[in-house]
Symmetry: D2
Subunit: 279 residues, 4 copies
Amino acid sequence: MTQVDVTSELLYRVTAPTSFIFNIAPAITDCQAIKDEKLTISPQIEFSWCALNGYGSRGIRLNVQPCDLKIAYLAEVSLFAEMAPPKILDEVDHPELPVEVLPFLNPSRYCESDRLGQFAWREFSGVPSGHSRVQAVADWVNKNISYISGSTDVSSSACDVLIQRTGVCRDFAHVSITLCRALGIPARYVSGYAVGLQPPDFHGFFEAYLHDRWYLFDATKMAPVSGLVRIGVGRDAADSSFATIVGQAQLQSMSVGAVSNQSVAQNQVGEGANAISTA
Amino acid sequence: MTQVDVTSELLYRVTAPTSFIFNIAPAITDCQAIKDEKLTISPQIEFSWCALNGYGSRGIRLNVQPCDLKIAYLAEVSLFAEMAPPKILDEVDHPELPVEVLPFLNPSRYCESDRLGQFAWREFSGVPSGHSRVQAVADWVNKNISYISGSTDVSSSACDVLIQRTGVCRDFAHVSITLCRALGIPARYVSGYAVGLQPPDFHGFFEAYLHDRWYLFDATKMAPVSGLVRIGVGRDAADSSFATIVGQAQLQSMSVGAVSNQSVAQNQVGEGANAISTA
Amino acid sequence: MTQVDVTSELLYRVTAPTSFIFNIAPAITDCQAIKDEKLTISPQIEFSWCALNGYGSRGIRLNVQPCDLKIAYLAEVSLFAEMAPPKILDEVDHPELPVEVLPFLNPSRYCESDRLGQFAWREFSGVPSGHSRVQAVADWVNKNISYISGSTDVSSSACDVLIQRTGVCRDFAHVSITLCRALGIPARYVSGYAVGLQPPDFHGFFEAYLHDRWYLFDATKMAPVSGLVRIGVGRDAADSSFATIVGQAQLQSMSVGAVSNQSVAQNQVGEGANAISTA
Amino acid sequence: MTQVDVTSELLYRVTAPTSFIFNIAPAITDCQAIKDEKLTISPQIEFSWCALNGYGSRGIRLNVQPCDLKIAYLAEVSLFAEMAPPKILDEVDHPELPVEVLPFLNPSRYCESDRLGQFAWREFSGVPSGHSRVQAVADWVNKNISYISGSTDVSSSACDVLIQRTGVCRDFAHVSITLCRALGIPARYVSGYAVGLQPPDFHGFFEAYLHDRWYLFDATKMAPVSGLVRIGVGRDAADSSFATIVGQAQLQSMSVGAVSNQSVAQNQVGEGANAISTA
């Protein structure tokens, strides 16, 4: 079990009546428990928690009149990750995939896997199937895409990024997911907190379905997988923004933190390290 | 209540072990009941029915060795559509949208609604909100896109179609869905049978969430909405193919039919006609 | 004859040996004469003038070692525009088009006219052919695209802009050119100075080939066509950047000006006004 | 000197008055001479030869009333190629590039070199500059793109092909040209006849500007470079179609041939072979 203290604070200037859904609280799953959660909204505004999907994500929904809005969240998260030696994590043949996993083989807004079949098979057909193939995808993305802040925007898709070869964490995840799906491996986007991420921010990574569950991967290699705290899950970043805003509001400042009392770095996937599942 | 007899027959040449999921049986919902359903698979192969999503869609899953595979399906469908006068069908403010409807505001593979905000608001902001706005979107698509078989392919998205101005039923649905989402109206793709469609084929249309439920629209105007029989529902056609095939199989022939004992054409949305919901 | 005083001053921080080609001096053509031209480069660096194409454009070519580079240019330009009543400016049938005009019917990097045939004919087939059709294109662009600084970048093409419906002068010109070519009307990009442009800057506009020569149009309507001073001509903005830079240099500041002793606004195309050609 | 007999025969059904420009006759250059040229058009229709650009290309221009049109062309071509050992063919620094070569550094419709800078430098910065770098580009394209007839269409650009990883000769040329331009090496498209091409057809290949002239490359490796006969030259295939058609005409059949009395295969670029220039 790993303990992670997460915090986030968002400040908006709201200039018209605006509907917000914040997706900043860690999901509650079999592998993630929340203690001492504290949400402060100022000015004091009525809000409601909502179950955003079937994966334990919890939205904070509120309607705001023009004001300076501050959302501050903190919690202590306990991670009970399932671990497994990578070598036993085989790919699941299509007929054996659970029905609820099938949508994560479909192409999505930022993951046009239908266009990348040839490319994916050319590049990764020689790699042993299973966890090693997904890791090879993440390694390829890490090696071939340059992490450059501001080089992409919210409309950038995996194909765009494969052409321009630069991006940020969400792009690294999108390209990885797209290649996995093109290879017939279900993959999905996860947003979250990440212990050790520099500079601290919300993070985007991905999960691939192997053997009998979802395993975590991070193509950016900017933070240990064992210190990832799940917030949202979806087909791609379109499903997992930390804030959905309908109205008129400008983000003024944001600060995010994730600190662990253990050295999560030691659990990082590497030679002989275990694969990690928190889904 | 409307009765529709639907039939479909698909013939494949399977040249390697192949996994199929057929999505050709009408969904079972509060508004659709199935009688006298008959599924014939030859050669005789073990298959299973599966619930494809939470919307009543039923997949037929089977693994096939090389052979000539024939799937024949027929059923009598009873439609218990909810009807409502269009003028009471208002748009739902974002804060009041049910959580499970929210994903249908997100952009998807073939519906890049994030790119069309300006366009949608320029074109449709002057139209009265509610059912009339969605109908205006469908009418615009009908008027501005030419229906030309073969002019698009499986990788064509709403933006592609808006540039080239030609497409088929799935493209008409995609553009409509994309414009609705850009306007803040949840919209989704429906595949199905359509009474009166010429030439007979599986059809693609769309639903918009208005007032308190999903209402049917067909931008192609090629078949009356009251004669639409729902098979699959999803974010776009990526979620609703009539056949998902992993392996090696060529479609040799396909025939599809939908016949009603009533004159469904009389229920078509027009001056004073009712809007129809079957979700 | 119209007299225009043009000035431009560019300041770069050059951090590695860099090759520059500046295209900021007005072209010399039958319709444009230059008087009292003055080019100041500091520090003093050897440079050469070069004929950039067959249209009278003149590049300033120089190689620069790391330094703070300042280019200051000023000239007095005499415009001897050909004028013609719009109603006599017919489109030229394809067989009669001069060979050297033909390349301006081809699609180019930012003007994918091959994709817009349906769209262009749907929108403009009903408009009387000739000058009025090109003017209808420019008017449509002006009405349907919002001028928003910073809403596009150097990779934005006409199709991108038609989807997002926002852009700047180069985008307005690109969309217009693309629609003209799709209609079979040769069209090309012109960069230049513009009297009355607010805020002052280099400007991008376009020419269409009508009757027997190239006529000027400006879809932005931000400056009178009679006060446009031609710098570069090309298939699109890819051919006409005011600075081509190979090396490492950051633009620190830029100021541009164009002032006329006459009231050029009175020559603006409008009811009964003349079309203007300076090619 | 190499002699090549070229032939082509095109049959069109013309169903409305139509303007044609055929670009099927070999260009006349310092390196290509034409003997015994014969052009037969039936029915007999007046036509004219025209100089399509400054590179020796010769168009055949005619206006046709509805009919079955047959164009048959044959000629004996003498190739006086310039040869050079690849190792002396260095890249030309930007300041030393002739002005008329500069446009071939610009992005074009099918060659979006502005988007591929990162990719090109990542992949080819380690390769020795000059002829070997261009050859590395062509080799990379040959290895990473699958030649599949019908996998692309006239709207496919280099970026599309880089994503889908399949294409035909024009796509191989487009990707190569795009990568060269992104690397700062001028490159252009050449259409022509190719001795030994199977199946016989018009061919698309490319030239890169090295040392002091344009050198031929063929990323498809489907025919020896020494047997290439130049027809058209341009920024990309948009400039070099073998037939420009304005009106209504369907191609009914086409046959193309190129036969040499010498064994051109022996001149193919390989270990120690010479680079070939015919521009």
